[in-house]
Symmetry: C2
Subunit: 199 residues, 2 copies
DNA sequence: CCTTTCCTTGACACGGTGTAAAGTTGACAT
DNA sequence: ATGTCAACTTTACACCGTGTCAAGGAAAGG
């Protein structure tokens, strides 16, 4: 039956995960994954039409295994806004190293492969929405005093969460390059020059 | 004489710049650059031993053309620390989009190519030193009140400057992955929870 | 005119992705 | 036990990118 097929599929996904975690993620080859899974390279193409599809499936598989959704849910159900924010930062902070390898691979392909670019943008959407939700929760507690502080705090949280690893995972953030740079410069100046970020 | 050779070399470097700026930087091919320069693909190898060396040379050429050093010097010679900080942020903020394409290419190669990894790390060193210098200048003006605020401000400035574009340019930041994540989480929490970042 | 330098064309090795064809293995039904 | 079907194997190959090699052409300078 198809149960064996599914078993092999999971064997492949686990092999891909192990190879991606082993480092040099962007350069993991189909033959590496096949060897890790103990099957022939051609068999990979019986389960996935192309390398990029295998990687996308691997990312989804990782989400399931690590139960990212459940962890993020905590950041929506905690009692106070401050607790919710803490849970949110914790969840994403732990997510980042787990998904790092897969993200590296997407990043390397996004210029040349449409599917990789789409997968990347999907994840970007998720973190943007997560950021907005966390800041709204904080606002509900009165921890931020004014509306335009909410906007600034969103920008800061977004910036913080999109540095290095997460950014390498997801890449283009939906903003234009110019807008991102201007915002970043403005925030750095405001924080260091003691502007009204702090209520 | 060798003047023609130098001319051709610059023709190649300008062609590489144009192709890198045109987008999809990581996937720019040798044949693309050759076509842009109006010469044969093989001729590129008469001037540069390999693709990665051509890209490294292109990055250096860009530094010269845009006179990055001079712009950064302003951030060291301005009258007050606050002015120096502003000049510093301005210089780096403008540098980022200029060097973006080349950085994308380095990022794509850093896993598989030793030379690309080294070039990347070199630029990382430069921005780290720049950050430290800017914050020292700010401290000299008394704009930051306590020593451990200096440390925090360094972290923030560093974080701000290393988001998205610059980070894609330079990648691994010398810190361990774990350290970077912990710092980022801590900073996000402190800023949003109104800790003592503001003096 | 001959030499040297720079560049050209054409061919090819190598390594990666993805495809195609034919053979093997094992489970399961009759 | 035999036939059948599905999953997987092996071998081969097309395609594309980097990098190398060999032979030849064009122009400058003695």
């Amino acid at each position: 039956m198809s149960s064996e097929k599914i078993e092999t599929r999971e064997k492949i996904l686990n092999a891909a995960l192990k190879q991606l975690e082993a480092g040099h993620a962007a350069s993991v080859r189909m033959s590496d994954i096949a060897k890790q899974a103990g099957i022939s390279r051609q068999a990979l193409y019986l389960h996935f039409p192309a390398r990029v599809e295998l990687l996308i499936a691997t990312a989804r598989y990782l989400d399931e295994v690590k139960d990212i959704d459940a962890r993020l849910a905590k950041s929506r159900t905690a009692a106070t806004g401050v607790e919710r924010l803490g849970a949110f930062i914790e969840a994403w902070g732990n997510y980042i190293p787990e998904i790092y390898g897969v993200g590296q691979a997407f990043l390397a392909m996004k210029d040349t492969d449409e599917a990789a670019a789409v997968a990347w943008e999907d994840r970007m959407q998720a973190v943007r929405h997560g950021c907005n939700a966390a800041v709204k929760a904080l606002k509900a507690d009165g921890a931020l005093s004014r509306d335009h502080s909410i906007k600034q705090a969103t920008d800061i949280l977004w910036t913080m969460l999109s540095v290095r690893n997460w950014e390498q995972l997801t890449g283009a953030c939906g903003w234009s390059q110019r807008r991102y740079i201007e915002t970043t410069k403005l925030l750095a100046a405001r924080i260091l020059l003691n502007d009204d970020i702090c209520k």
